[in-house]
Structures are given as C-alpha cells and as structure tokens.
Symmetry: none
Amino acid sequence: MTDRQSTPAIPAFVLVRPQMGENIGAAARAMWNFGLDHMRIVAPRDGWPNPSAVALASGAGRLLDEALLCADLPEALADCTFTFATTARSRDLTKPVYSPEAAMQLAAQKIAAGERIAVLFGPERAGLENADVAQANALISVPVNPQFASLNLAQCVLLTGYEWMRASSDVAPRSDEMAGTDWAQHREVEALARHYEDRLDEAGFFFPEHKVTSMKTNLRNMWSRLPLTRADAQMLHGMMRQMVRWKERD
Amino acid sequence: MTDRQSTPAIPAFVLVRPQMGENIGAAARAMWNFGLDHMRIVAPRDGWPNPSAVALASGAGRLLDEALLCADLPEALADCTFTFATTARSRDLTKPVYSPEAAMQLAAQKIAAGERIAVLFGPERAGLENADVAQANALISVPVNPQFASLNLAQCVLLTGYEWMRASSDVAPRSDEMAGTDWAQHREVEALARHYEDRLDEAGFFFPEHKVTSMKTNLRNMWSRLPLTRADAQMLHGMMRQMVRWKERD
C-alpha cells in the first residue's frame, strides 16, 4: 500500500548520454506538453546542470531542476520494475517490440498495478547501444517512412509522451462530433423550409411549371440533409427576411 | 473517374503564413517521416524560396521544391473538398472537433472515397486566425497538458503526420452511402459565400456596424461547415439571384 502510494502515476523518461543541452531542454518541453515531469538523465556529455538545456526548456525548466542525474543506466533504472527502450533500427536482441501506442497502454496498465515504468531514449547521433537495450524489458519502435526515418530526440519523446497522454486519459476525445451543439429541431427546419419556399414562390424562383415539384423537393431535401444548428436557422431566416425588406424598401 | 484517378492518395498539409524558414524546413522533415510529401504554403512571411527552409529540410528538400506556393488560403484550398484546421485554443466557431487520430481516420476514409483533403497549420506565434478557421470544415485539437500547451509548428505537423501514418496503414473503407457524391469544391463554396455576402451587404443585412465582422465570420463559417453538393451550391446561387431579380423587377 505505502509502496503503491509512493509510486509515481507516470513513467520516468530516461535520457541516456544526451549530447546537446538544447535537445535536453526540448525533450523537457515535449514531456511537459503531455503532463510528464519525471525525467532522469544518464551521464550527459556536457555535464550538469547545462545552461543551454535551461534556455531551451523555457516553461518546463522545473523538469530539469527536478531531474534525477545518474552516473550510469543501472542507477537510473534501480527502482523501476519495467523498462522500455525506444529504438529506430531493429535489434538482433530478442525482445518484444511495441508500437508507441501499445507500449504506453501497457505502461498505463502496469502503473495502475503499482509498477514503476521507465522509457529509455538514446543519444542524438548513435541512439542506444545494445548494452543499454539489453537492460530493457521491451522495445518501442515508432512506425516511420522506411525511406526517411529522421526523428530527433525531442520528437521521439514527443510521440511517446503523446501516446502516454492518450493511453492514460479518457479526456482525449476520439471525436466529439460537436457535442453539446444546439441543433435545430425538426419543427424548426420545417419552418425554415416553409419560409424559404413561400418567399421564393413569391419571387418566382420555382419555374418552369413542370419543374416546380422537383425543385421544391430538392430544396426541402437540402434543408433536411444539412446539419443545421439553431443559430444557422435563425441566421437563414434573417437573411431571407432582409432580402424581402430590401425589395419592399422601394 | 479521371478526377478520382488524379486525386492524391494523401492529404495536403497547408502552412498558413509561416514565419521562420527553419520551421518550414522542419515541417517538411516531419511530414516526410510519415510519407507525406504534399505541402502547400500560403504567403510565407520571408518570401519563397527560402534558403533557411532548404537548409533545415535536409533529406526532405524535395517537398519544398514541389510545394505549391499560394497567395491566399482560398487559392490553396481551391481543389479541396474537406479541410481540417489545427488549433490550440478552442474557438467560438461551431465546428466539429476531432482528435488527431479521429481526424486522420476520417481523412483516410474520405480520400479512399475520392475526396481531396487539406490540413491547415497556422503561423508559429499567433496560430490560425478565425477568418482562416472559418474556411475549414472541421477542427483538429491535439490533447495537451492544459497547464503547458507549447507545441511548435513542426511538432504539430509531426503528430498529425504520425496519426496519418497510423490511420492510412489500416484503412477500412467502410461503405458510405454518400460516396461518389459530387461535393462542392472549396473554390465553389468560396464563390457561394462571396455571392451571399455581397448581396446581403447591399441589402443591409450586416448591421449594426460593431457586429458586421462576427456576422460575416459566422455566415462564412456556416457555409464551410455544411456538407454542400455542387447541386446545392447551384441551387443556393439561383435562389439568391432570384431574390435580387425580384427586387429589381419593380
């Protein structure tokens, strides 16, 4: 219980031997976009703290202040129960490979069950070494254009963080098709259709005689097919009223 | 058929009034990571071609060479049948809002049905203006940390492209009874909107003065939101023409 309570509700993102401070800062921003603020940094090339990381992290600087600086990967993963390694090229190592989506869904399940999850991100140029990957339980492979796979560190962090937010929140709507919209009721669409038909009749729109019925049917059909809101209906009434006023003014 | 055959199998990503060339280049790289190479650029701040865009695009420079440069948004959307606008803050405009996942699934279905899809990305700082959004059929909202929403242009392009790759790799072309419908193209909706706005202006519909802009935006927004067929557009033109003839008859 206490162990469970002290378990963070989010995965730790571990930057392994990052090189440019700018990329560390950009990674922090990418993380915080999706509510992730648990960063661990293993043996950063240019030491720590890193001014250019701070400069780039603007708004997410807290993540750098609170980041856990580690001498090596085993230290960074010490308290973790399950580790994912993000990797571009496929490895000869036998490990389960997950898409970012499947990986973060699994991470959410494990965290809900009280586990501590880490996700490894390699150095900008080389990526993770096999020795690093060997310490992970599973791989995350981002589906990219085989002719052009050029995700940088912050982008890889961004996509993984994005999938974390999707996996961990029901907030992200699949698509709220204008939920809460004040749609026009049938009787209102009916009144709108009648208003237009009557005025257009007076105006001599329905012509020639043998086409009148089909023209009226087409017009009526359009009104029912269009997803009109109450506001749309009112505006359309107002437009027609104004055209009539305009005519009658002189 | 020929029209269907000439329809590209991917959405066009439209950068609206982009500022820094670096960001245009980064957007091109982000797109090509997911196999997207159809870019349109509207009124780039620093002109075109842009050397710093080329410098940043390394590996994806072809997208810039082949990008369609447009003077304004209507020109960029002229041949499109459905447009998504990516937006950070929510708008008062009544439009369906999709997650990137749901939006790209819908895009894949529409493209499979022969439609031409565009996705709008706003300028770095300000984002899309309401006048831009009013020309879109739906919105894409990326679920981000409400305390920290700081996606840059290339990152927004990256996430949308990533969802495109996920959606297009498993397109279930579910039968759609409106498939094969002769939808009005953007240029036709644009002409319809202009026709109504001009006549209603003459007729004194847009009043009082301080409401003119929002009234026009709401009207323009309605035209974009309604699924208009070519036949609908022609009928609506005819209705307005007849109202004017009626007025002028006496």
